[in-house]
């Protein structure tokens, strides 16, 4: 039963990852792609949670923590780049 739950969670996360990469490929603008990257970071945190439970290796939770902060830094960096020096979409 528990193994089925882990497999189902993995499958659902994989479907979400495919959909996220689909939006990353489609765009159509750079902020949309940044949103897709943000979701992919959240999905990776979910994958790490499933992996920690299925393997019992608890130190990997630290990886999830670092990943959350890194994704935040990346989003803020992209936002600043867009605001200060990016191209305008409707020029």
């Amino acid at each position: 039963m528990f193994e089925i739950a882990i497999i189902v969670a993995n499958v659902l996360l994989s479907i979400s990852l495919v959909l996220g990469f689909w939006r990353l490929y489609l765009g159509p603008t750079l902020p949309d792609r940044v949103v897709a990257l943000e979701l992919i970071a959240s999905l990776t945190i979910g994958f790490i949670a499933v992996y920690v439970i299925s393997s019992g290796r608890t130190p990997f939770i630290d990886v999830a923590m670092v990943l959350a902060l890194t994704a935040f830094l990346a989003a803020i960096g992209f936002a600043r780049y867009l605001e200060k020096g990016g191209h305008r979409e409707d020029d």
């Binding site: 949670a49 936002a79 605001e83």
Partner: protein
Amino acid sequence: MIELITGFFLVSGAAFMVVAALGLVRMPDLPMRLHATTKAGVLGAGLMMVGVAIYFGEGGVTARAVAVIGFLLLTAPVAAHAIGRAGYFVGVPLWERTRSDELKGRYDEKTHTLASPPEMNESSPDDEPRR
């Protein structure tokens, strides 16, 4: 019993992730995509970390899982705000059926500061009846 609760949290968190990804693909413009991914994505990841905390039931693991959830709850709204603001300033087109754009004409494109348009400064907001 613990396995049952953990499985419930894992599967429900993953289901919320699917909802977030579906919203990312299906929603028509940037603010709606942000709305879908930020809230559902953080809820999904948070539920899965709750599952981790319940499954191990140790102090150290629970503390780190709570730290992850806290970081997510702190950073996701700030990041979504920054991206949405940058997207609006960059000129990402809104959905064609958007009813109202309250910010239109009210921000300075050079300094990126918000202000009321000149004709609104003369009459105070109390004079106009709200529609």
